[in-house]
Subunit: 470 residues, 3 copies
C-alpha cells in the first residue's frame, strides 16, 4: 500500500528540476511557520478547555471552500449542517453529513481544497486511506478519536506545527479579551491581533451605526463627529499595538483612493451618523479613509494590508438564508494604477509606510502590481490570495510578478485561513511551489544553487518576518 | 519516410508525463464522439445525394479560420473564391485557389488550424505529404478522388467517425425540414437541432422585422405584441424538443442581464415592431430576454448556452463586400460577475436550469467564471471557445479553471464547427490535451492514476453527455 | 571555477527540448542584429571621440530599470547620482555609487535586468565574477580599464556586435545633425532615424507651443494653423526618409482613434495655439492624428509603430525632483478592439500600410491583438515590450499570440533600449527564448525540425528585416 502523500509531490515534472526542488525544500521545510495574516479565532488559544467538536464541526461547517463546491453540485447547505439565519432545522447527524461529503470528495480532484484536506487528514490525523463513500465512517472514527486526545488542543497543535507567530484578524471594536487572556495565561505561543476597522470605516456596512456606538464604548471617546472618529481609531490602534499587533487590514471593493477635505469628510460622516449617507458617500469616505489610515501607519508603524476586488454576498438567497462567508463571494476586475495614485502620491515615498496589496484579479500582476511595487518604496505585494492560493496560482504569481518586482518586493506567504489545523498543509504547498519555481530557475541557469537557497529561505520565512516587522 | 502524424503528438515534453498521457489517451481515444454544440448543416445528413463539391468547396471557402489568415497576409478574398455579396466575379479555378493556399500553408505553422487540417488530410483523405506549393496539385487530386467515393458521404463519415450524437444550431424560425427528413429516412444517426433565437431576440439584428414575420408564420401565432412573442418562442422550443433538441444557444455582445417589467418589455417590443427601437432598447431587451429564456429552460428543461464577447463584423469593408462570418469578428473584454447577477438571482439556485457559459476573454476564467461555477448550482463552464480552442488555450483553461471549479463544473468538449470532416481532429486535440494535463497531475502526485482514468473518461465523454442531458 | 554564463542557459527544463533548442540557437546566434526600434543616442556614432564616461555613467545613471528597483528598496536616487532638476547636489563618487549598487545586486535575481547585466559584464567587459559588495571595486576597475580602450568606441562595438542596422528614435523637430554627421563620416555602420512626432501631436505635452515653433523653424513652414501643421509633418517625414528612416513611432495613453472633420481639427489646433486646448481637445486631436499619420504612411511608406498603455510619471515627487523616464511609468489596462476600429476602418485593408502594435497589457494578446493581426492586412504585432521584454514575458507572448496570429503577423525582436552595450544580451535572450519555444513544438511534434529552422531564422532576423522594410 502506497502512502497517500508522496515525498516529491507537486515537484517537476522534469526530473532534474525535481532533484533541485527536493534539495531546496528539504532545507526549508522545517523552518518555523510565520503566519502574519489569517482568521483563526483567538479563543482557540485563550480557552484551556477548547474543543474542536466533531470532525464535521472542525472540517466542514466552517469551511466555505468545501461546501461551496458541494453546493455547486446540487447539495443543499442545510444537508451539510450549515446553520440557517432563521433558525430553521438543518441536518444534525454529523456522520450523515460526513458521508454526503465523502461520497462527493471526488469533486475536489486537482483542487487546492482537496490537496490541503488530504494532507491534513494524513499528517494531523494519521489517515492513510483515500476519502470516499466506503472509507467515510472509518475515517470519521479516526478523526473523532484523535480529537479526544490532549495533543489536539490548539496550543499543543501550535507547538507541534512549529508556528513562530500567528496573527489573528480583529474588529476595531474588539476588546481583545481572548488576546489578553492568552497573554495572562503564561503560555509561550505568540498570538497577535490585527486591526481591521472595515465595519466602522465602510459606511455601507450593515449595522455601521451600532458599530460606531461600540467604538465609542470601547475607546471611551464619544464619537459625535469625524475628529472624534479619527481619535478613536488612533486610540484603538495604540491599544492593539500594546497587545502585540504589527499590522492593520482593510477590505474594499476597489482600491479607489482620493483625499477629502476635513470639511467634506466631516459632512459625510455626520450624514452617516444621521443614517443619511448615500452609496456615493460611502465610496468617497472609504477612498479618503484609506489615505488617512496610511497616514496613521506612517506614524505608528503598523503595516497596512489592503485586500480588494471581492464582490461579497453575490447570491442574495444564500445571504438571506445563511449569512455572509458562505462561498458566494465573487471577484471582479480591479484597477490599481489610477486608483491608488492619490494614496501613493501622499505616502508612497514614505519610508515609514509598508502597504501590502492583495488582488483577486491576476491580470494586475504583471501589468500594474509588479511595476508599482518595483518602484514605490512603500509598496509590497502579498502572496496569491483566496482562489489563487493554489499550485497554479502560485506559478502564475511567480512568473508574472517576480521578473519585474523581484522577490524582495513580495512578502512570502499568508495562510489567510480560519481552519487552524490546515495551516501546515497550506504553508507546505507554498514551500513546495517556491522550491519548484526556484529549481526551474537553477536548471535553466538563471540563478545558481547558492542564490536559490537564499531565496528559498526568504520565501519560506525571511520575507514574511521582515515585511511584517515581526 | 516518417508519417506526418506522430502517435505521441502534443504530449510532453517530459518523458514520464508522455508515458502516462499515452496510457490515458489510449483508454479514451475510441470513445464515441459526443457533439453537443456546432454548426454543421443538417442538409449533409438529410440529402442522400449530398456532395461536398471540390476540395476547395469543402476545405477552404467555408472556413474563415483559414481565409482570415491568408487575408491578413495580403491575399484578396476574391482570389480564394469567396463569393461577393454583389455577385461580382471571383476566382473560380479551384486548382488555382488550392495552389494559392498551399503555397502559404506555412503561415499556419504552430496554429490549431494547421494542426486540424494536417490531421484531417492524413486521416480522412490518406494524404501522407506536407502541403506546400509543390505537393499542392497531387494532394488536390487525392482529395478530389476521395470525394467521389461513397465512403465520403456525410452519413458514412458520421458512422466512420464514431459520432454518437451531433447537435446542429438552428434559427428559431427554422422549419427543421432537414431534421424531419433525417428522422423520416430511417438512418440511425442521431442528429438533433438546437434552438437559437438570436435573430428574433436581439432587436438590432439586421432583418429583425422580417424574422418576426417568419416566426409568426412558422409558429402560427400572430406576433402583434410581447405576450404573443413569448408564446411563439415557447411554441418553437416545444417543437424543437419534439425533434430531439436538448439545448438552446444565445449570442450576445455582453452577458448583461436585467429584468424588465411586463409593461416595459411590451413597450420596447412594440417600438421595435414599429421600427422605432433604439440601441438602448435593444440592449435592455436582450438583457431581459436572457432571464426570460432562463425561465423557459427551468420549465422545459432545455440546457441554455450563452456565447458572449465577440464584436461581429469588425471590418465594414469585408462585411459590405462578403457578408458575415468572414474572419472579422474580434473579441472584447467581458464582465460576468456584475452582468449575470440578475439572471443568477432569479434562477442561479434552480436545480432545473443548466446554463453553460462561453467566453472569449480568458481573464475571466480564474477571476469570475470558475468562482461563479464553483458556487451556483445552475452554472457550468463551456470548453475553450473559438480562438482559444487550441493546445495552449486548453492548457490555460485547465490551469485557470479547474483548481477553483473542479472538472465537474465543466462540460467536456464542443467542436463548434461547420467543417464536418474536421470533427475527429478537433476532438482528438482535446483528448490529447486532457490526457497530457492529467498526466502532469499524475507525475506530480496531485492525483493518482485511477482518478486520472476516471477524469479522462469524463473529459472525453461523460461530462458532455450528462451536462447536455443526452 | 565555473563560468557565469552557461552555454545552455534559459533552455529547457526538458533535456530533449534543450538539445533541439541548442541546435536551433546555434544556427541563429551569429545572424546579424537587426535593431529597428530603440533609443540609442546617435551622437555615440557621430562623435569620433565619444566616451562612455565611468562605469556608473554607462551602466547605472541612464538605466531606469536598475535604479527603480534600488529606489523601491529604499535607496534615494540622489545616492545613485541621478541628477536633480533643481541642480541640488547628488552623490558624485562613482565608486561609492557602484558599491551601493553591487551590495544590492541580489535584488535582481531572476529578473531580466539582472540577466542582461550579467551577460553584458561577462561578454563585453570580460567579468567572470558575480557582482556583489565584495567584488564591486575589482569589477569597477575592470570595466573602467576596458572603457579606456579603443575597442570600446561605439563604432567598434557596433561592428563587434555584428549589428546590421540600428534605428534611433528622434523628435519630429530634430535636425538629425548627428545622423548627417554619421553619413558624412564615411563610416559603414547603418544608423537610421525614426520619426517620432509625439511632442507636436499630443497637445498636452509640456512645452507643446515651443515645439510647434521649433517645427516651424526646422521645416521652414510657418505653422499658423492645422493645414500648415500637416504640411510641416509631411515635410519632416520626407526629410527623415532622405536620411534613411523607414518608420515612425507614436506613443499614446490609449489606442483611441476617431476622425475629426477638417474644420474640427482646425478649431482644436487653433485653440491649442492660443493655449486654450482642453484635455478633451488633446484626446480628440491625438485620436484624429493617429488616423492622419496612418494616411501619411500609406503615402510615403514609412512603417507606423504605436506604443500605448503607459501612465507616464506616476510619481509626482520623482517627476518634480528628477524629471521623466525615472522608472515611475506604470501600465494601465488597454482596449484595442473598439479603439482602433476607426483607424482600421480607414486604412486596415490598405496594402501600403504596416501598423505595428505594442502593448503593456498582456490580456490583449489572445483576446484582441492576435485576432486583429490575424485578420487585417495592415496590422503586425511588436514583440513583448518593456516590463514584458523578459523570459516569461516572451513565453506568454509565444503561447498567447502565435496560435491565432501565426508568427508571420509578428515582427521579430526590438531591443528598444538606450543602453547600447546591452543590445547583444537582449537579442540573445530573444533568440534563446525563440529557440526554446520552437524546440518545445518540435519535441511535441507540432512542427518538424526543418520548419523550426525556418521559423528560427524568421524570428531572429527575417521578420524584423522585412516588416520594417529594411
Amino acid at each position: 500500500m502506497t502512502p497517500i502523500l508522496h515525498d516529491d509531490r507537486y515537484f517537476g515534472p522534469d526530473v532534474r528540476q525535481i532533484e533541485v526542488a527536493r534539495e531546496l525544500y528539504r532545507a526549508a521545510k522545517d523552518l518555523p511557520l510565520v503566519c502574519p495574516h489569517g482568521h483563526v479565532d483567538p479563543r482557540l488559544f485563550a480557552d484551556p478547555d477548547y474543543s474542536f467538536g466533531t470532525p464535521v464541526d472542525l472540517l466542514l461547517i466552517p469551511d466555505h471552500y468545501i461546501f461551496r463546491m458541494l453546493y455547486s453540485q446540487g447539495v443543499p447547505l442545510e444537508d451539510l449542517g450549515i446553520p440557517r439565519a432563521d433558525g430553521a432545522p438543518v441536518e444534525t447527524d454529523h456522520r450523515k453529513i460526513w458521508q454526503t461529503f465523502a461520497e462527493r470528495f471526488y469533486l475536489f480532484r486537482g483542487t487546492p481544497t482537496g490537496m490541503w484536506l488530504e494532507q491534513e487528514l494524513a499528517e494531523v490525523f494519521g489517515v492513510q486511506q483515500r476519502l470516499d463513500g466506503e472509507s467515510a465512517q472509518a475515517i470519521y472514527d479516526r478523526i473523532a478519536a484523535a480529537l479526544e486526545t490532549p495533543q489536539m488542543h490548539p496550543r499543543r497543535l501550535y507547538e507541534h506545527f512549529n508556528i513562530e507567530v500567528l496573527c489573528t484578524t480583529d474588529a476595531a471594536t474588539d476588546t481583545l479579551a481572548h488576546h489578553r487572556a492568552i497573554r495572562a495565561s503564561g503560555w509561550s505561543g505568540d498570538i497577535r491581533p490585527t486591526f481591521r476597522p472595515d465595519a466602522v470605516v465602510n459606511l455601507d456596512t450593515p449595522g455601521w451605526r451600532e458599530e460606531i456606538d461600540r467604538l465609542s464604548e470601547v475607546s471611551g471617546i464619544a464619537i459625535t463627529g469625524y475628529p472624534a472618529f479619527i481619535d478613536a481609531l488612533e486610540q484603538r490602534r495604540s491599544f492593539f499595538k500594546s497587545l502585540g499587533a504589527v499590522a492593520t487590514d482593510h477590505a474594499a471593493l476597489t482600491p479607489y483612493t482620493a483625499p477629502l477635505s476635513g470639511r467634506e469628510a466631516s459632512a459625510i460622516f455626520e450624514r452617516a451618523l444621521r443614517g443619511e449617507a448615500s452609496p456615493d458617500d460611502a465610496r468617497a469616505f472609504t477612498g479618503h479613509m484609506l489615505i488617512e489610515l496610511a497616514r496613521m501607519s506612517t506614524e505608528d508603524g503598523l503595516v497596512m494590508q489592503l485586500h480588494v476586488g471581492s464582490w461579497r454576498n453575490h447570491n442574495p438567497l444564500i445571504y438571506a438564508r445563511f449569512g455572509r462567508d458562505k462561498g458566494a463571494d465573487i471577484p471582479i476586475a480591479t484597477e490599481f494604477t489610477r486608483n491608488l495614485r492619490p494614496l501613493l502620491d501622499a505616502y508612497g515615498n514614505d519610508p515609514h509606510l509598508t502597504l501590502i496589496l492583495f488582488t483577486l484579479d491576476e491580470t494586475t500582476y504583471s501589468r500594474e502590481l509588479a511595476p508599482l511595487a518595483g518602484h514605490y518604496p512603500a509598496l509590497r505585494l502579498g502572496p496569491p490570495w483566496w482562489f489563487h492560493d493554489s499550485w497554479n496560482g502560485m506559478q502564475r504569481f511567480f512568473d508574472q510578478v517576480m521578473e519585474t518586482a523581484g522577490i524582495y518586493n513580495t512578502v512570502g506567504f499568508n495562510d489567510d485561513t480560519r481552519a487552524f489545523p490546515s495551516i501546515p498543509a497550506r504553508h507546505d504547498v507554498w514551500r513546495r511551489a517556491s522550491a519548484n519555481w526556484l529549481a526551474g530557475l537553477v536548471v535553466r541557469h538563471v540563478i545558481d544553487l547558492a542564490d536559490a537557497h537564499e531565496m528559498m529561505g526568504e520565501l519560506a520565512y525571511g520575507l514574511a518576518k521582515r515585511s511584517y516587522r515581526l
